[in-house]
Symmetry: none
Subunit: 208 residues, 4 copies
Amino acid sequence: MASRPLIKPRKIATQQRSRATVDALVQATARILVKEGFDKASTNRIAAVAGVSVGSLYQYFPSKEALVAAVIERHQQEITQMVRRELAGVLTESIDKAVHKLVTVAVKAHRVDPKLHRVLAEQIPRVGKLEKLETFNRENFALFSAYLERHREELRIDDLGLASYVCVTTIEALTHNAVLHDSRMLSDQTMEALVDEAARLITGYLKK
Amino acid sequence: MASRPLIKPRKIATQQRSRATVDALVQATARILVKEGFDKASTNRIAAVAGVSVGSLYQYFPSKEALVAAVIERHQQEITQMVRRELAGVLTESIDKAVHKLVTVAVKAHRVDPKLHRVLAEQIPRVGKLEKLETFNRENFALFSAYLERHREELRIDDLGLASYVCVTTIEALTHNAVLHDSRMLSDQTMEALVDEAARLITGYLKK
Amino acid sequence: MASRPLIKPRKIATQQRSRATVDALVQATARILVKEGFDKASTNRIAAVAGVSVGSLYQYFPSKEALVAAVIERHQQEITQMVRRELAGVLTESIDKAVHKLVTVAVKAHRVDPKLHRVLAEQIPRVGKLEKLETFNRENFALFSAYLERHREELRIDDLGLASYVCVTTIEALTHNAVLHDSRMLSDQTMEALVDEAARLITGYLKK
Amino acid sequence: MASRPLIKPRKIATQQRSRATVDALVQATARILVKEGFDKASTNRIAAVAGVSVGSLYQYFPSKEALVAAVIERHQQEITQMVRRELAGVLTESIDKAVHKLVTVAVKAHRVDPKLHRVLAEQIPRVGKLEKLETFNRENFALFSAYLERHREELRIDDLGLASYVCVTTIEALTHNAVLHDSRMLSDQTMEALVDEAARLITGYLKK
DNA sequence: TATGAATGAGAGTTCATTCAT
DNA sequence: GATGAATGAACTCTCATTCAT
């Protein structure tokens, strides 16, 4: 994008190419997963869709598992970034607002790529190094703990870790199921209602 | 057709043998799933562990999928029976008691065969006719709705279906995760604490 | 059919039952072959359709091959009987008439059970003891030879065996193909034309 | 893309390897069919005999059926090429000569690979996309029709299609049976006699 | 004798992975 | 590096046949 000198180090060109190949592979994998399901996502097929050879695939990913892991990670990161963005400044907000925002963001997180999310959640066997898909847990657990810590005196909390666990797990479950399974039946209106209910559930639990 | 005392009809002998084979197969499947994971559960291996031939397997189960489905169903039924037993009479109990009981039962349900439950939840690709594992949903959803209906005036409920969804999903998620993932870290004491917290969460949500 | 004494020897009853079972099996085989093809004709399926157990099937037929052979033989015999009936007295007829009758009968023979005939001809691998399906050959070869012998002086024949071979093979081929493959396209009228042509072919060849 | 002398494009090297594999597979199939019959021609066995892996087999042939089809096609093409070569110029020849040549060629066609021809004709179930083996029909039907058309005035023909059908079918049947079944008994001398008889049969039928 | 549950060799096929080019 | 042909273990499933009841 910036003006470039006439000679670029080959290494960078190479790295760019590598990067492009890796991206293409991850994207192809995600695409096949969404469109045809895990069963159809063979390495040969992935390579073909990515426009590279199987050999190249194995140049960049040591196994099929690693490829799927990359898809999961990429998806996770997209979500994490979005959540971080949306939740900036939440620490200083009131409980009601904060919790409502949290739930809203959780819904939004599941809507980043719901089809992919569903496939990852339902079709990928959690075996080997393939971790559980955690939309709203790891990083957000910390965030939530921090919030609780900060507002501790306003809240009715004994065990902070336990409370965080309860809240984060609950929000994750409610929004995950709502978005990924019942979304056809759920109008935006009902979704709002659900968000409100979930917020009330958590708020009631936390407040003194 | 004539009365033949002392001699059992062949059909029963037959049914017994069949039944034994079917049982052996389902058990073998569950055992392999637990001990070695879904990947290792090939039809030949299952038959071998069951002590029958692959042919017999396919005499009773049209596909590998059907076998796994049978394992799921059997597990589901064990849980359902236990839940039914434990929850008899819950309809007439107070909210506090009822909800506490519900959460306690949910924990117990996940402890029926936690290893199997975990494999079923995490390693079985939800593809084809293989439904989601629902420990605490379908039948219990109805039960919960009935409870809420009955105690409606004592409660703060707008949308009964929505409230049921929120409660059932929440209890399921909290207990599922606690039992199946963090159980190593969770002492019985902490578990009790969790149950209390979950109960408080739900109770606070429902009460006026 | 005749009036029967009150007591029949059990052996006969048994024989009748056996006979009935055998018939049922052969019929079931033929039926499955016609309706679903050779691939679907497994011994278990045949037994089921015949209303007996696989065990019984093997009581009467040592192998699947034997069963198919029985179907072929039964079909062959039906044809042979029909041909014999229709061709009685042909020996004394004139060449024109005799040959025309022969061709007509050949067509009729292929129409005894054309669907079965086609399956037997096309789907049954001629392996082991399974012979070629010969509608119009073995017995009729002899008959034809006899005719030629008898009318030798009217005919232009060097090698009687060779002439028989030529005629019988030709008639068989022309009628077989016409009836079994092109019968949809062939109107009765065209069929008649074909019969006439075939007759002319053979007659021209035989006559001085 | 640039001209690269002395270096063959990779594609060709690749194509050569592929081609060799495909050839080996088709040859192996034919060999097994001839030597051991259709029953023994399993895909694994074919691959083994071809000196490649089953995986390679399925890289080039989508099914066992496709492999057999390839053998049939290859055989058919060999025959077709031979027939075309031998029959060049037949259109302008006299009836006697033309018909005699035709029959002679038909015999020769069946002698291209008689054992294979026999297996293909007798053991391959005509199921799915596997067509009838037609040594002397499709293309030659057209050729024969053309001949009759051209010589129509010299001949006694009403229905040209019908006449072609009669002649082609007859020649095919006579030579097929003679070469493939009775060839042990048939000396070259008898074979010549048969050819003469067949030619006389057809000629007599066509001539005015 | 009839039954049908049980057998198990073997079929066709797939696919993650390797490696010569 | 990139290619893609080749690999082959492993899988699901079938079916002619046997044999305990």
